[in-house]
Point group: D2
Chain length 410, copies 4
Amino acid sequence: MKVIKDSVHDHIQVDGVARDLLDTPALQRLRRISQLGTVSLVYPSANHTRFEHSLGVYHLACQALEQLGVDGKRATRIRAAALLHDVGHGPFSHNLESLTYRRTGRYHDDVHDLLAGGTVGDVLRDHDLDPEAVAELVAGDGQFGQLVSGELDVDRMDYLVRDAHHTGVPYGTIDHGRLVRELTFTDGTLVLDEGNVQTAESLLVARALMNPTVYSHSVARISKAMLRRGTEQLLESPSADLDAATLQRMDDADLLVALRSSEATDEFSRRLDERDLFKRAVWAEMDDVPGGVIEADHETIRAFERDIADAAAVDSDCVILDVPGRPSMTESTSRVLVNGDIRRLDEQSPLVEALRAAQHSQWRLGVYSPAAMRDRVGRGAVEVLGLDIDGALVSDVRNGLETTLDQFTD
Amino acid sequence: MKVIKDSVHDHIQVDGVARDLLDTPALQRLRRISQLGTVSLVYPSANHTRFEHSLGVYHLACQALEQLGVDGKRATRIRAAALLHDVGHGPFSHNLESLTYRRTGRYHDDVHDLLAGGTVGDVLRDHDLDPEAVAELVAGDGQFGQLVSGELDVDRMDYLVRDAHHTGVPYGTIDHGRLVRELTFTDGTLVLDEGNVQTAESLLVARALMNPTVYSHSVARISKAMLRRGTEQLLESPSADLDAATLQRMDDADLLVALRSSEATDEFSRRLDERDLFKRAVWAEMDDVPGGVIEADHETIRAFERDIADAAAVDSDCVILDVPGRPSMTESTSRVLVNGDIRRLDEQSPLVEALRAAQHSQWRLGVYSPAAMRDRVGRGAVEVLGLDIDGALVSDVRNGLETTLDQFTD
Amino acid sequence: MKVIKDSVHDHIQVDGVARDLLDTPALQRLRRISQLGTVSLVYPSANHTRFEHSLGVYHLACQALEQLGVDGKRATRIRAAALLHDVGHGPFSHNLESLTYRRTGRYHDDVHDLLAGGTVGDVLRDHDLDPEAVAELVAGDGQFGQLVSGELDVDRMDYLVRDAHHTGVPYGTIDHGRLVRELTFTDGTLVLDEGNVQTAESLLVARALMNPTVYSHSVARISKAMLRRGTEQLLESPSADLDAATLQRMDDADLLVALRSSEATDEFSRRLDERDLFKRAVWAEMDDVPGGVIEADHETIRAFERDIADAAAVDSDCVILDVPGRPSMTESTSRVLVNGDIRRLDEQSPLVEALRAAQHSQWRLGVYSPAAMRDRVGRGAVEVLGLDIDGALVSDVRNGLETTLDQFTD
Amino acid sequence: MKVIKDSVHDHIQVDGVARDLLDTPALQRLRRISQLGTVSLVYPSANHTRFEHSLGVYHLACQALEQLGVDGKRATRIRAAALLHDVGHGPFSHNLESLTYRRTGRYHDDVHDLLAGGTVGDVLRDHDLDPEAVAELVAGDGQFGQLVSGELDVDRMDYLVRDAHHTGVPYGTIDHGRLVRELTFTDGTLVLDEGNVQTAESLLVARALMNPTVYSHSVARISKAMLRRGTEQLLESPSADLDAATLQRMDDADLLVALRSSEATDEFSRRLDERDLFKRAVWAEMDDVPGGVIEADHETIRAFERDIADAAAVDSDCVILDVPGRPSMTESTSRVLVNGDIRRLDEQSPLVEALRAAQHSQWRLGVYSPAAMRDRVGRGAVEVLGLDIDGALVSDVRNGLETTLDQFTD
């Protein structure tokens, strides 16, 4: 048995298949994938990796399985899935998912291939585990898949606490010990036991407070959009000779250096390296945005960007249109036992609806450009996108709400 | 004024010259230099960077200056020096210092040049600061240089706490608030005020306990030696076309990718990426090592390695001889006021001598090789180096004390 | 200047009037008043006192005043008020307030008298402060009174974090550094600056999650009701010779011993000392409770208790009826700047209404009795109070939801 | 199974005999015995109790037993002993031990009686445990007694971390997870496993740094001496009618109120309640103190006090002579495996001797008196005790090293 020291869970014990999996290149690669991507440009301490997160998820899975009384081969399989759940992540984790999705039809690298092939597959088979069955757990399938990927999964419990610890933002500090301890299966559904409506609410609230403060902080969104645009140009550049499948297997260092090395992307790369970021030319509530823009597909968005650039008389590389998808709230359907019945949290708690409304009110369209051009780009965007806001609002964003430094708010 | 959220000091306020310095490429580059280099292969959470550390040192310097009643331009200059003190660090921080030192005569990039040139110089001059004077503070010169680089400097106070926070090892958790508060100048010397012998001892002890557990952990030493050897081969490889000066201005990503890209180093690179590390073939107390080996210069060490490889009939790339310098203990000469007199801690505290003895007893020569060859390499090394140990000791290391995983001990 | 070490804020600096006030008997007495009263019967680590809390409130007041640019005598006065704000608390803090209120017309000891008289008055006058003006700040009057006692006061910011730290329940871990930093005065109103709707929400949410988990935990409510009943009997016992005014100036030890010493109360005292607590015979949602019961005054409640005891054929000391007041939510009217306008949080955030609904749904009437009698007492109470619940509900409480030990939930 | 939330170990699971023991009056009484007695007059947050500490020790014992592979009835017995180990403590824990020892021949209440009698005995027998066998474990007897009370006991591991947490002094923050994990039995001796010399040193160092900062802080010593003297007068006062055996079964509240209620002690009581403490008239290194004073028994010390009072022409209640016993260092004999041999730490580590020297140099005789009389009392004491110090040293203590407030040092 090995013991690994972790800054969140203190000591993590690893043995059996997990110990062997740790030694695979696929898992070691996660040491070089940051957990939060460009969020570190807002919170400079947020340099934690998918590797330590994977260890944490494994640790909580072990605790949950003990609590649930699951053991034997089934437990081994779930522990393996917990440790491997992020093995398909590309560089900068979620930051580039939409981009690889468009090209490969998958958000992540093919997990089935990853688990069946290479040393990971060898290790799983050596321990008499079927890679396919592990992959299904990673995908959240079946009764026990809920524990790895679902409304009450151990993934969520680890990342909220870990991201809070490393950003310094306390909102994510849930009581994961309590959450794990109250898990139970009722009729094959993973639920929180009797008396835990508030425990479920606390998870929901933690996520709802971390969202705008950390995960969707405007500077994180801007830098992520710049990284995505740069990487897209890299993929499109003939001289770079890079395809999406290769991209997905890179680590953060590979991508950073590739962006620096290509003429097509060295300006984006320089801006990211020097934190000389685009600014918000428009930051609009979605209620003021026409449906056509909200629903626009990738090609249409690129066309909008070009039109805005034309209207503003700037180079099209100087305009990024960032239209995030409609906010969702996975935790809202987590299950809780109430007087013996399984209830969905949104049926039980008035908080769900309120947090959904709060989330909706924070849903923003952004148009970003270099600082010097934001006035022109802002006016162009209002015109091209048909936004229902006046010039004042655009410059409001400019006045006092913008940041040039790392900081926890703007 | 900007406020930055830090996982150690919570909120750090930045304004004036510090705020402008933060926006320079030289400082932003420190985001991509890890604080502890290969230590993260032992403690997977230790991914913090020189950037957050620099902010922390700046923060403690501000507190110390307020405590000391230093203000005006002198204080501004010291704050700038605190923020900039690591700006010359190359990739993987201290891990490669000896290597660049041999080639450039400097451990770090030329700080005078760095501070006088580029945007850093511009910012300093804009704020009416002389880059040369700031560089002298960074070097620890003069009365106030002690605060930036000396026995009681704020650098040390930040890194002990920060490294403890991120590794999860509690030993470094000093009371930095108390240390900063008790600083005073007596006859131009930075001292801890009356009644603080124990405060000084606590700093010394924290450092003494962190050394073997973190900074000189055997796995950190092995991986650092592999990184150093790989980088050296890169510098020597004609096709890589890399010189030491360029190396010093790289970041961690640049070096990782350069090592992967060169045929001369791709095997070391693969081993580091996959954590398929060399093992200890010899781990000898220095009292059992002939003086000629202890004092050997770099060329002699390389020759020893070749001789060991010959004796073991393995490729010379499969032998690394790691002879660390005689351990020092900077904190032992920190000054404390006792009954109105300035005393050196080692004159005052019996702990200094004891910790020095402990440190000496932990001083180890290492010979590293791939796992499969360690027997042969061990025997070859004992013979070539004339070590006063028997075969049993070499295999002792092999039995049960070796690690294949991250862990906090071996 | 003195520096005091605090487990929450680390170092607290105290000087001037605050230092002199600390040495008064009135403030030292707060060392012996627990912050959370009977909550320690649920969370055994929650033994912190009003003294350390008062220091914390003083500390945050100092930070807020610096942030707000308030200095001079006005700041001195506010700092004194912050330190003194709890000086009128009786033993077990809020636990006995309703009881002393009925007898003295005041929840706390007379703050005006306390501040004007004795050594506190001397110290204030020595520092040229008008005790009357300080008392007004403690009461929350005037522009600056909001900082000491209002929706955004520093009292709340300290106790949430401190109670979280000592109970171990993370929900109260707000970002007090951020809250203090974002305070500003607009048109004489204390508000959170632009961009802080979510900061205000986080305070509200922390309070809403701490309420049922800590402050109104059923075991804390039961033991508080027993303490209140015991103390009432003590006040009514001729041999105890205790009046409400004397009670208010006791500390926790005085009251504990007085309860033990009187024959009238030694059984309640024994039960509290041995944690042999009453159990819930009824735990009813307030929607199922007739208005007459909800609005009943103290005498009516005592009459109900006697009637329930009669119906259940038990001694009237074996029935406690606990009807908490309608839940309020002070934080809901905290002010936030939105686009330059002062907005009440409940106008701005859908969370307020949702949390209010959640709070209402947790509002419970309790009837408590010794474990052996709960069946009988439960049936008697349903009948006497005219509750709209069936026997099943009463026994639901009995099945598995009850605690005999300290624990964080039931 | 019950789960209790603890501010140090988070969740503590309690079942079986431990759960039943928790409900006994003897254990519940520990809720009202402070862990550190008068130390809270130095560190105002240090209000934790023997109850939470006992839970913590139980928790670590469970972990250690699992690690050691001890289970069945033997493990049950050890867990019970861990929970009960402090059950004999009198009010203010160690503060009054010497006093009750002189009168009863025991430091604590009779543990054998306590465990065999009352509800504790009933519970133990109900769970088929022999109270006598549990008492032997509490006393540290036998192989497994080492775990409850010995150089490497779980008592020490809990209190260092807990006292650090509540005082805010970080020095005690040991890595208890590591310590517990590395415990093993070799030839019936409890040792730390191979490779843990430094782990053992860290425990020793933590204790050595906590001693002068917390446990033997001069203000803690003064207030403890005052409490002891007051209690002694109470025991000697005919009207108080209190004997040592009764005293030992009191809780902190009982004793505080008893001191207030007796005319013989109300002045000491007032001083303790108002923190109007005696000051140091003499604070002498033991090397300057004649052997006759160091070795003096209680009656001789009382005679010295009277003689000093006479010499100073003050009332004998105004002089306290505090001669602590020769410092010991339990941890110095903890055992560590080194190359398969059991070694005592003081044979292995140069730190032990150095810390012993440091401890000796901190060993101080104190003479305390009201502030107004300290000059006279100081001179009287130097004369009566034959101290080898001059007047200057006595007043040195007066100048700037004395405190009137809580603070973490003087």
